[in-house]
């Protein structure tokens, strides 16, 4: 068979598959037996923006759905008026579904942040006084965002449910700049949150959909950039235990 013929067959197959997917997906998102068609999370956006948002959420979902546990190396950079120079630390991030997240700095002068469900503790690595996170709307919002970004989406991988879970409590937009990014902001009117946090920018790996960076902008002017790399999914239980309990 000639190369041109093979290429034409591939094109036809791809077009046919795409057409099938386009015809199937609206039916998959159609109304459940009990009622009318549910509203989409992306209703209210212009079509182009909705499409771009949907693509990003899909990209994220593809990676997160496979995550039962995750290990990654991170570099955290904090720019704050408290410090003369930006604070740069490296460490290891461990996530265990559904709601355990540990960020351990490498340096002895750093700290370990543990999020287990609703509880947040920040413990300096030199064993001095830990600080338990005092519950507040801002803490609840940021904690929920961080856990949701790494956790497998709920609802048996339903795209709409995944989008709702990821974007709950947020106003979402696509920031300027290259790459697959989402800008999550506290809902308009959430004064209790916006007093502490302005936005959370999420950068996704364009190939895998993994979260490659989080950039947090705080109301008092601090900026925190958390860059992730060397991500490994679904580690052994023993390895996980060692990482978490260390």
């Amino acid at each position: 068979m000639s190369e041109g013929c093979t290429r034409r067959r591939w094109l036809a197959a791809t077009l046919g598959a795409s057409a099938a997917v386009m015809l199937w997906r609206p039916r998959a998102g159609a109304a459940p037996a009990s009622g009318g068609a549910p509203a989409s999370r992306f209703d209210g956006f212009p079509d182009k923006t909705a499409r771009r948002l949907r693509n990003r959420v899909e990209l994220w979902r593809g990676y997160a759905a496979r995550t039962q546990s995750l290990r990654a190396r991170y570099t955290l950079t904090r720019r704050t008026s408290l410090l003369v120079d930006p604070l740069v630390v490296t460490g290891t991030l461990v996530f265990v579904a559904p709601a355990t997240l540990v960020l351990r700095d490498d340096a002895h002068v750093g700290s370990t942040t543990r999020v287990v469900g609703d509880a947040v503790t920040i413990t300096p690595n030199d064993s001095s006084a830990a600080a338990r996170g005092r519950e507040s709307p801002a803490l609840a919002w940021l904690r929920a965002r961080m856990l949701t970004l790494f956790a497998p989406p709920p609802g048996d991988n339903d795209p709409e449910l995944a989008a709702r879970a990821l974007l709950e409590g947020c106003d979402v937009s696509i920031p300027k700049g290259a790459g697959m990014q989402l800008l999550l902001q506290p809902r308009a009117g959430a004064d209790a949150i916006t007093r502490a946090l302005r936005s959370l920018r999420v950068r996704l790996d364009t190939m895998t959909g993994a979260v490659s960076a989080l950039e947090l902008e705080e109301t008092l002017g601090d900026r925190v950039l958390l860059e992730l790399g060397q991500q490994q999914q679904n580690l052994d239980e023993d390895v996980l235990r060692q990482l978490i309990d260390r």
Binding site: D85, T113, I193
Partner: protein, 800 residues
């Protein structure tokens, strides 16, 4: 006599007109002693999400604990707070202002018990570790939202504040249990409260005196206008609302109740007297008694007054059917009835103390009408009114000492046992039939706190500053209440330090070398790569040792508007700080075991004289606790006084001590039996039932005395008399029982059951007890000489 009676009646009518006629006051605190009333009854506005929004998708996914976003209710509360302006009083200090104040004065507000820990934090190594800790924790992405504020509190002095929840009113404190913190209300920027689930908000308002219906309606209009466009409902909760509800209930149900009572009595009297003019005459005399009782109470009609006015009518009308009499003229019965509520003057309840004089006025005016005016009218008109039906067929009573002894013993034992187990309810709050009001109060209690559990501690001074300083001297004792009696203590005095405490702390800080410690802190911050200037808020406040958390600074600063809401002016001059204490629910529950030491002992040391004055917890909740603790003691005192007075009249009328003592025993037995009956029916006893118990006792005293007299005089006891002597009283009780107000129904139940028992005990117990007493008296002293100067013949007493 007719003219005399009409003159007396007119005098009461004029007196009533002078005070403005009968007016529905709706008073609901008549059973709270004056010294236990809150200085300024509070009024709350409760905002809540509309029920239909509870089904929305957004609200269903709203998390528990702090709301993830500003809720509809919170936004409405913030706008409403602006619109209410001077009417609104902050419930709590505005969150940011309080935080700034506490951070600025942390070094002075750390309690004495934590001074050692404070000293540790100011040593060199501790400062280095604190700075290292800040730098370490900065590497967490969640640091800025963890609640730590290094700019204001780099040494984490907040952790040294006393960890007892509730010690700063509604502000949460470090170390508070997370679960408790999650359920606690939040404070808005304006100082109002938002429920933990974000679905309710609470504002406090202060109406200009008097807080009457017009003021309440005006407030409702302003609330409606202020909440336009917001999908929230509002409810007003507080004493003013309860009074308004009571007024509505009295206006709606009162006339119907009175007409029902009049109709029942008219029916009863018609069957008995069979004369329209007689019935009309009796009812007019009864209503004259009601007028006199109302005038004696200065025309005020509250929830507690209506049932007693109806009972005045019922008991007074019974005076028209006095077969047989205690004496030839029948005055003892009228006097027993008139003085039935006189013992209430010994009680601490203002409403009942008023009725100790209102009741005699009403009954005596009615009795005068029945005994003097109507017969006089009959003679004038030359028509017999036939007020006293001819003696019909009757039977001679046979005293049954054994049965009487058995019934007495059983009743007294049962009464004593029931008093140990019966549910005693305090006199506040009064039960109400207003279901929306009860629902609003329950919602307020669930989401925030129960306003019925509020108590006050007062501190006085010539000026507001002095009053607040005196309050600060009570701070330790107020905090100690959190261990025993209180769930929360709410006072600006806990945000300041008293003058002696400030002086002592200043000395300590100088001794610890505060200035050196602050310099070391700056050096450590710089060495760690931090900017000391970023911590200037803490450093400047710590260095400003001349600025201390004094009363003057608090009133002049951002906490001033909130603090001033706790300070009132005294009528005789001077000012008073009223700290609020939220009592624990178990203290005021019926089964609660109350240690009186938990409630009353506070010391208020006068710095000028160094005298140790007592400052006590006071409030309707405290009064309710006292009611439960001392109910049997108070009941015993009032019952004993009633028995003594009634027995005196019986003795004076019959001149037989045995009759008087027998009547008193019968009265006591009936009251005991009534307590057993109410316990078995699940009715609560308390200050609200005291008048009913005394009236039942008086009815039993009269019934018993009449029965004994009938035996001594060997007269047949007419069957009609047995049925009718208490029928009017029972009819009045039944009219009350048919009403919708729970308070009136409870009174009616007690009176109806009690008067029925009185009638029965009078026939079956009193003669038996009298005979037993005479047998026991060998010398015959108890028999007395009787009115005719003859000793009753024992054989004759058993004739028939």
């Amino acid at each position: 006599m007719v003219v005399l009676w009409l003159t007396i009646l007119s005098a009461f009518a004029v007196a009533l007109a002078v005070v403005g006629g009968p007016r529905v006051s709706g008073a609901v605190d008549g059973l709270v002693p004056v010294d236990q009333r809150l200085a300024e009854p509070e009024l709350w506005v409760l905002l809540s999400d509309r029920p239909e929004r509870a089904g929305d998708e957004g609200s269903a996914s709203r998390p528990a604990g702090p709301t993830a976003e500003g809720s509809t209710v919170e936004r409405a509360a913030i706008e409403l707070a602006e619109q209410l302006d001077a009417l609104r009083v902050p419930v709590a200090p505005p969150a940011s202002d309080a935080a700034v104040w506490l951070d600025a004065h942390r070094l002075y507000l750390v309690p004495r018990s934590r001074e050692a820990a404070l000293a540790e934090r100011l040593y060199g190594d501790a400062i280095r570790r604190a700075v290292a800790g800040i730098r370490a924790r900065l590497s967490s992405p969640l640091y800025s939202v963890s609640g730590e504020e290094p700019r204001r509190d780099p040494l984490r002095l907040r952790e040294l504040m006393d960890e007892r929840p509730g010690q700063l009113g509604f502000m949460t404190v470090e170390g508070e249990d997370e679960e408790a913190r999650a359920l606690a209300p939040r404070i808005t920027v304006a100082g109002d409260l938002i429920a933990a689930d974000g679905r309710a908000a609470l504002l406090r308002v202060q109406l200009p005196a008097p807080a009457d219906e017009a003021a309440l309606r005006s407030l409702e209009d302003r609330l409606r206008a202020g909440l336009e466009g917001h999908e929230v409902d509002f409810a007003i909760v507080g004493q003013a609302r309860r009074e308004a509800s009571a007024r509505s209930s009295i206006r709606a149900r009162g006339p119907r109740l009175v007409w029902t009572a009049v109709a029942l009595l008219a029916l009863l009297l018609s069957v008995t007297l069979r004369s329209v003019r007689a019935v009309a005459g009796v009812l007019l005399c009864g209503l004259g008694g009601v007028l006199a009782a109302t005038a004696a109470g200065r025309g005020a009609l509250g929830l507690l007054d209506i049932p007693l006015l109806v009972l005045t009518l019922g008991f007074a009308c019974e005076g028209a059917l006095h077969l047989p009499r205690l004496s030839s003229r029948g005055w003892p019965a009228a006097l027993i009835l008139a003085t039935a509520l006189l013992p209430l003057a010994l009680s601490p309840y203002p409403a009942w103390r008023a009725w100790a004089t209102q009741w005699p006025a009403g009954v005596l005016v009615a009795a005068l009408g029945l005994r003097l005016a109507l017969p006089g009218l009959s003679r004038l008109s030359r028509r017999e009114l036939a007020l006293w039906p001819q003696p019909g067929a009757g039977f001679h009573l046979r005293p049954a000492p054994a049965l009487a002894l058995l019934l007495c013993a059983a009743s007294l034992a049962g009464g004593a046992w029931s008093l140990e187990h019966v549910d005693v309810r305090g006199g506040h709050p009064l039960p109400t039939a207003d279901a929306p009001l009860r629902s609003d109060e329950r919602r307020l209690a669930r989401a925030f706190f129960d306003p019925g559990l509020l108590a006050e501690v007062r501190a006085q001074g010539a000026t507001p500053v002095e009053a607040l300083e005196r309050g600060a001297a009570q701070a330790d004792e107020l905090r100690a209440l959190l261990e025993t009696a209180a769930a929360r203590v709410d006072s600006p005095a806990l945000f300041i330090a008293s003058e002696p405490a400030r002086s002592a702390r200043a000395s300590l800080l100088e001794e610890l070398g505060l200035e050196g410690a602050l310099e070391r802190l700056e050096q450590e911050l710089a060495a760690s790569g931090m900017r000391p200037a970023a911590f200037s808020e803490f450093l400047e406040a710590a260095r400003a040792t001349e600025v201390t958390p004094s009363a003057e600074a608090a009133l002049a600063g951002p906490l001033g508007p909130w603090a001033r809401a706790y300070i009132g002016e005294l009528p005789g001059g001077g000012h008073e700080l009223r700290a609020r204490v939220h009592l624990r629910r178990e203290l005021v529950e019926p089964a609660g075991d109350v240690n009186p030491n938990n409630l009353t002992i506070l010391s208020d040391r006068n710095p000028a004289t160094d005298d140790d004055a007592r400052a006590e917890l006071r409030g309707p909740a405290i009064a309710a606790v006292e009611d439960r603790r001392r109910f049997d003691e108070r009941l015993g005192l009032l019952a004993a006084a009633g028995l003594w007075i009634g027995a005196l009249w019986v003795w004076l009328g019959t001149r037989r001590l045995s009759t008087a003592v027998a009547a008193a025993f019968t009265s006591l037995a009936v009251q005991s039996c009534l307590i057993v009956l109410l316990d078995q029916l699940g009715a609560a006893l308390g200050p609200t039932t005291l008048p009913a118990l005394l009236l039942v006792g008086a009815a039993a005293m009269i019934a018993g005395g009449r029965a004994c007299q009938a035996v001594d005089e060997r007269r047949p006891f007419p069957a009609k008399g047995i049925l009718l002597t208490s029928a009017c009283q029972i009819a009045a009780g039944l009219a009350l029982l048919a009403s919708a107000e729970p308070l009136w129904r409870a009174t009616g139940l007690a009176v109806a059951c009690g008067c029925a028992l009185a009638s029965g005990f009078g026939v079956f117990v009193a003669p038996g007890v009298c005979a037993l007493l005479r047998r026991l008296s060998r010398s015959g002293d108890l028999r007395g000489r009787g009115r005719e100067g003859r000793a009753p013949d024992d054989e004759g007493a058993r004739a028939g």
